[in-house]
């Protein structure tokens, strides 16, 4: 239904969603299907390495997720990927070096750490619901979007202001909600659950490079 007039008409890209037990794998696949892209859901290193674009989703706790990645050998594979990779929510956090959640050593693709949101003055934790993403520079990822796009967030841990941030969101502080380093992009929110805005972002990612 969403943006059906903009179905991908050129060659069908080979999109792989990394399956390591994260809950939102199918939501991500459904989001891609809404604009006519059938993604492969896989934990096979060869399939992942052979993709045009890789989506690295994530829901849940960092420690358990890293264990699952290690169990499948994906902790070695993901940092070496050279095609565009989109980390979503926990997927973004795992791209960092370290998470305060379960004191977890992460993939180390992007320097920096993930910290707990400390609730103060009535601030709710988790940060749950729709909040605005202000992108800090022009980027094709945000093509066709308004300057303050509403996206759906659910998280208790976060990346603070970062030199590689390309989008920020205000909560307890202005934190990093979109980050980019080389071929890796991470988003703290859930584009697959952010209605038209989120679908647009995923579509923009698929069109990148």
């Amino acid at each position: 239904m969403i943006m059906s007039e903009e179905k991908m008409d050129h060659q069908i890209p080979n999109i792989v969603i990394i399956d390591y037990g994260a809950g939102n794998v199918f939501s991500v696949r459904n989001a891609l299907q809404s604009f006519g892209v059938d993604a492969i859901v896989s934990d096979d290193p060869d399939v992942i390495q052979g993709a045009d674009k890789v989506i690295f989703p994530g829901v849940g706790a960092a420690g358990k997720a890293m264990n699952q990645l290690r169990g499948k050998g994906l902790n070695e594979i993901i940092p070496r990927l050279t095609q565009p990779v989109l980390g979503i929510c926990l997927g973004m956090q795992l791209l960092m070096e370290f998470s305060g959640e379960d004191n977890t050593e992460c993939l180390g693709v992007i320097p920096g750490e993930v910290k707990k949101i400390s609730g103060w003055q009535g601030l709710r934790v988790p940060h749950m619901g729709w909040n605005r993403v202000k992108y800090s520079r022009e980027h094709p990822l945000f093509s066709g979007m308004s300057e303050h796009e509403w996206m759906y967030f659910v998280h208790s841990y976060y990346v603070s202001q970062h030199p590689f941030a390309i989008g920020v969101t205000d909560y307890h502080e202005s934190f990093t909600s979109v980050i980019e380093m080389n071929n890796f992009i991470g988003v703290q929110f859930h584009p697959e659950k952010s209605a038209e805005s989120g679908i647009r972002l995923i579509q923009n990612f698929i069109k990148l490079y």
Binding site: G23, S27, P126, W130, R132, V154, G198
Partner: protein, 256 residues
């Protein structure tokens, strides 16, 4: 104070029975209000921030129907949705999340065995565990919790139970004021404000929505993070766009 731009959420609730949407007045006299997938897609299109599906039949035979429904909703609708009703095990939660639900809400089974909250949070993450609480004030004004669709007294106090659930790992509280449910006489704002003060996790207000002013009050006086309503939306008494522009005019942070 922070300069948070987090929006208050408007959540239509779809009570489903045998794959159809129904809405009861004070948990009785069910009225058919339509096809849940079509309703869900409609609500997402007009600006609902999230959806809740409550399976009020919740029998074993109906689980398959519910899973099919969840799968169809997940395909059509790209906003978060919660599924509740009769959930009592890790296995139930696993299959609902796998079918495409973003969160599950648990109620009676958590009262029976509070460790369920802890186990579910550990396995699936606190963010997808919504604890639903049905409560009603006693003559002395103390809010008490009921289980089994509001039929059974538990002896638990509302605030104590909510705090315990937060400690065990619930990610959100869905509080239904049973005495308000279906009455359209306004949310239980005082109890909600107390809940807000007792908790750090978000609170969804439910029961009593009758007008747009009720929503304004629940977000200001009640300090609710989200407000849920059913018949008001299903029967077209109040539209979501109309409600949202009213709230914005009144300086409530709303996704537009």
């Amino acid at each position: 104070m922070s300069n948070s731009s987090l929006a208050k959420r408007i959540i239509p609730c779809l009570d489903v029975k045998n794959g159809r949407t129904v809405k009861g007045v004070q948990f009785e006299s069910l009225i058919d209000a339509g096809d849940p997938v079509a309703l869900a897609a409609y609500y997402a299109a007009v600006g609902a921030d999230e959806l809740v599906f409550l399976d009020i039949s919740a029998t074993l035979e109906n689980r398959k129907t519910l899973l099919d429904l969840v799968q169809n909703v997940a395909k059509e609708v790209h906003i978060p949705f919660t599924v509740g009703g009769g959930i009592s095990s890790e296995r139930d939660v696993y299959s609902l999340l796998r079918a495409g639900a973003d969160k599950v809400s648990i109620n009676s089974s958590a009262i029976k065995d509070p460790s369920l909250i802890e186990r579910l949070a550990l396995n699936f993450g606190a963010q997808c565990i919504v604890l639903a609480i049905d409560a009603m004030p006693e003559i002395n004004g103390k809010w008490m919790v009921y289980s089994r669709g509001g039929t059974t007294k538990t002896g638990l106090g509302l605030y104590e139970w909510a705090e315990k659930a937060q400690t065990l790992g619930a990610g959100e509280i869905l509080f239904t004021a049973m005495s308000k449910d279906g009455t359209k006489s306004g949310y239980a704002t005082e109890a909600l404000f107390q809940l807000h003060n007792h908790l750090q996790i978000p609170v969804i207000a439910s029961g009593g929505a009758g007008s747009k002013e009720d929503f304004l009050e629940v977000f200001t006086k009640g300090q609710a993070d989200a407000a849920l309503a059913a018949s008001l939306f299903h029967f077209g008494i109040l539209s979501i766009p109309e409600l949202k522009s009213y709230l914005m005019e009144n300086k409530i942070q709303i996704r537009c």
